[in-house]
């Protein structure tokens, strides 16, 4: 079933649903007295959720024995980038009014913006090289090494969120836990694999 063309179309719509939800709330003026903050938090939430989702694909494939999940990973990753773009755009446009010197000052001076900027910057080359053509051009090994930048994105995104909140750290701690578990799984599974190779 996961191989059907339709499941991919369905996944596409599911990833797009938050955008429709946001548009609906904006249309209904149901975005609080501070729409900018609402939209910023909304797009930031989905960027980090989908980033965590891409990290979950490989562990879930192995643990659940559904290798076909790989078909969705690129799409989820590109949607994470899409929501991150909207998130950054609201900052550049609504907060900074495209005042790039002021933005660079922020990036240098304020750790939570530095972390957010790093998380976004690491996603850019991944989005650009997400096509089959680029995988071929770079070669599987090198492509994979480049795409381990997503780990930097995940960690930096969690730091960005954690440093942003004023006091209630439950949400950022939830993402921190998920990212830590997903990264630990990789370390452990790699260690087991290496040991197996050594024994063989």
């Amino acid at each position: 079933m996961l191989r059907s063309r339709w499941t991919k179309a369905l996944a596409f719509l599911v990833c797009l649903a938050p955008l429709f939800h946001l548009a609906w709330r904006v249309w209904n003026q149901d975005v609080t007295a501070n729409p900018t903050e609402f939209i910023q938090h909304f797009t930031g939430d989905w960027a980090i959720r989908l980033t965590v989702a891409t990290l979950a694909v490989t562990p879930l494939r192995k643990l659940l024995g559904v290798p076909d999940l790989i078909r969705f990973r690129r799409m989820i990753g590109l949607f994470a980038f899409f929501y991150a773009c909207l998130h950054v755009l609201t900052y550049l446009w609504l907060d900074k009014l495209f005042d790039f010197p002021a933005m660079l000052k922020d990036v240098g001076k304020r750790p939570f913006i530095t972390a957010g900027f790093a998380a976004f910057a690491c996603l850019v080359p991944l989005a650009l090289t997400s096509t089959a053509g680029w995988i071929r051009r770079l070669g599987g090994k090198r492509w994979q090494r480049l795409h381990s930048l997503v780990y930097v994105t995940a960690i930096a995104a969690v730091a960005h969120y954690y440093w942003l909140v004023k006091s209630d750290i439950r949400q950022p701690m939830l993402y921190a836990t998920l990212v830590a578990l997903l990264l630990c799984w990789r370390v452990v599974s790699r260690t087991i694999r290496n040991n197996a190779v050594r024994r063989a």
Binding site: A33, L97, D106, S167
Partner: protein, 316 residues
């Protein structure tokens, strides 16, 4: 007679656009509205939304247009009712604020408790239209109702030992199930403080209403402070205790993070919050953070003298 029948249209009766555009949610609210109307007929004497008597105009008011009632009542920082901006409006609806007393104690000649009824009658109520500047770099304009805090403090006759005023918010987990420190992330009950001369300044408002009505729960019912030249978190909500003291009292956000929230917390475009600039603000409902922040939120002429000779970068 404080509570009279509404003679004219109240701010809150004007259907906000979000309501008439959102029919389904409106219909879901009909049963509650019906119950509310029944309660009103049964003769609930006061409480949130009750119409206040005619309010005197104040020379301290800004001429700017207030934000909508819906904006001011659905975008709140009131961590006892949840840490998101939308939660207080949902979670505080049944907040019981009657009976209510405010205790004035400490270095005063006449310590005593004031009932809400006494507070409402202590001095003529004024409408004060202030710009409310949050430390998060947004601001809104609110037509508050109340009178200078000094009127209440004078009743208790502060002694010469009194140098600071400590305020404490209501705190009750039965009424505020989310108000556990581990959920809110801050120590509770919420406490705030002012220097005595700041507290006695006529701009410092003891606030009992807004938009001509008694305060709604999420905005700090039944009585709160509004200190318009300081960041919003200094304007403590739902006050139950006022204590005159001789040394600087602890304040909630300062205890939570002293590096980011000082005791003074005067609005100051030159002193950034460590995590963001305070040079500009977003004047809601505008989307853009493009308005230059005013020194002391525009009240420099009135209050700068209180801080003569002080280094405001050190005493942030």
């Amino acid at each position: 007679m404080l509570i009279s029948k509404p003679a004219d249209l109240r701010y809150s009766e004007v259907t906000p656009k979000s309501v008439y555009l959102n029919r389904r949610r409106f219909l879901a609210g009909v049963p509650a509205a019906f119950l509310g109307a029944r309660a009103a007929r049964a003769g609930v004497p006061s409480g949130p939304g009750a119409k206040l008597p005619s309010l005197a105009k104040s020379p301290f008011s800004t001429t700017e247009t207030p934000n909508t009632y819906n904006d001011v009542t659905h975008y709140n920082n009131f961590y006892e009712f949840g840490t998101s901006k939308q939660q207080p409006a949902q979670n505080a609806t049944n907040f019981k604020t009657s009976p209510w007393t405010v205790s004035i104690e400490g270095d005063v000649a006449k310590p005593r408790k004031f009932s809400m009824d006494e507070i409402l009658k202590l001095a003529p109520l004024e409408e004060r239209i202030y710009r409310h500047r949050c430390v998060e770099a947004w601001s809104i304009v609110v037509p508050w109702a109340g009178y200078s805090l000094s009127a209440l403090l004078k009743q208790a006759e502060p002694t010469s030992k009194a140098k600071f005023v400590a305020f404490e918010s209501y705190w009750d987990l039965r009424q505020m199930p989310l108000a556990r420190p581990e959920l809110a992330g801050i120590a509770l009950p919420y406490v705030e403080g002012l220097r005595l001369d700041e507290a006695m300044h006529p701009l410092a408002l003891l606030c009992v209403g807004m938009y001509g009505e008694a305060l709604p729960p999420q905005d700090g019912a039944p009585v709160r402070l509004v200190v318009p030249w300081k960041y919003g978190f200094k304007s403590i909500k739902s006050i139950v205790k006022i204590k005159l003291v001789s040394s600087q009292p602890p304040t909630t956000w300062n205890m939570s993070n002293a590096h980011e929230y000082g005791f003074y917390s005067n609005v100051n475009p030159q002193v950034d919050h460590p995590r963001w600039s305070q040079a500009k603000e977003r004047r809601l409902p505008s989307l853009f953070q493009n308005h230059p922040t005013q020194m002391f939120n525009g009240y420099a002429n009135e209050v700068a003298g209180l801080y003569a000779g002080m280094d405001l970068k050190k005493n942030y």
